[in-house]
């Protein structure tokens, strides 16, 4: 008898986020990467009240979106992909996606080729990657049943 999920609603930013949340590893950590992006809805509008979480062995990160829908993390370079979990007002249950840093990961073989690109981050600098999330509509990010 599982407990049903419910939305986290719009009013969580006084509670769940914390200053160190987006920083899974300290600045200057060997091999650290920066991950940044935006979350948008089916009308292409920013989602300013989402909460994103990532998890890696020994690491956990949490970042709320800013008014422009943006988020950022600093974490260790993943061996394969970074699981990314997104909660928001209007999401009665969260969406799960996967951030791949390269397009040649074997996990991507399961994904329809036409939508695969939504799971691959764009490299913007030495160790800086951009990963935008589109909840709905054109270019909708692939989400997983986890």
């Amino acid at each position: 008898m599982l407990t049903p999920s419910q939305t986290l609603g719009p009013f969580f930013s006084h509670a769940l986020p914390y200053a160190e949340g987006p920083f899974c590893v300290p600045e200057g950590h060997p091999g650290a990467i920066e991950l940044r992006g935006r979350v948008t809805d089916g009308a292409g509008e920013p989602v300013p009240d989402a909460l994103l979480e990532i998890c890696q062995p020994g690491l956990f990160g949490r970042c709320p979106t800013a008014p422009d829908g943006s988020y950022h993390f600093r974490t260790a370079r993943p061996e394969t992909y970074l699981p990314l979990l997104i909660f928001a007002r209007g999401l009665l249950k969260p969406v799960w996606t996967r951030v791949h840093l390269t397009p040649d990961d074997r996990f991507l073989d399961e994904v329809d080729e036409s939508r695969r690109a939504t799971l691959v981050a764009t490299r913007e600098g030495e160790a800086v990657y951009r990963f935008d999330v589109r909840l709905q509509g054109a270019g909708e990010t692939v989400f997983f049943a986890i």
Binding site: T3, P4, H14, E53, G90, L92, E110, F144, I146
Partner: protein, 220 residues
């Protein structure tokens, strides 16, 4: 979706915010081998849980207004195994139905004695326990004369990231249940979101007690 999936759909038109945020494409069911990154233990080591973090009535120099309550229960896996040492976070409106959040415009008073956020770790039986005040109902703009039933938001971790759950707990007998599209998105499973008043948990001359167990999917 499996027949026993109690979770709401993404698209639930009575809850207007789902219309532009619900994914339209079907979810992909990945093969989750034991190495899958979703099966990693979520280590939330940033901030240790303090001794008073579970008591939302003692986080300010003054006590909050409202009806003092104890909310306790167990975090269990679907097979009945308790989830031990797991982080449980709660947040809620004050007794007047106002959140201590900058964007909450409900013209009800803020309470200098109440911030409305607490956390604790489950014990060896999977039990959590919070002391707080009963939150008030509040209006929202989803539809004309829309009011949310009183609720406490719960965020729960298991031993694997894939077990992550955020949900809401409601209070028994609330007349707003039938009017609330968020609660009713859980359809027949909505009753699982309602706590049980418990005289045994109630402390004489001090606080009413409620019991509410949270069941998350089993670890893979």
């Amino acid at each position: 979706m499996p027949a026993d999936d109690p979770h709401p759909p993404y698209l639930h038109p009575p809850y207007g915010s789902t219309l532009l945020r619900a994914p339209a494409q079907p979810l992909l069911a990945p093969k989750l081998d034991p190495e899958a990154a979703e099966l990693v233990d979520p280590v939330y080591g940033h901030r240790p849980v303090g001794d008073l973090d579970h008591d939302l009535t003692r986080q300010r120099p003054v006590e909050p207004l409202g009806e003092r309550i104890i909310v306790t229960g167990r975090v269990l896996e679907s097979g009945g195994r308790p989830v031990r040492g797991a982080l449980v976070e709660v947040w809620q409106a004050n007794a007047s139905g106002r959140y201590a959040h900058d964007l909450d415009r409900h013209p009800a008073p803020l309470d200098p004695g109440f911030h409305g956020f607490g956390r604790c770790l489950t014990d060896d039986e999977g039990r959590y326990r919070f002391v707080t005040i009963k939150p008030g109902a509040y209006p929202w703009r989803n539809h004309p004369n829309a009011w949310r039933p009183a609720h406490i938001h719960f965020s729960v971790f298991g031993t694997q990231f894939a077990q992550r759950l955020i949900t809401q707990m409601y209070f028994p007998g609330d007349p707003l249940f039938e009017h609330d599209p968020i609660m009713n998105s859980a359809a027949a499973a909505r009753d699982r979101l309602v706590a049980r008043f418990d005289l045994g948990t109630t402390e004489p001359e001090w606080a009413l007690g409620y019991q509410w167990d949270i069941v998350i999917k089993g670890a893979a």
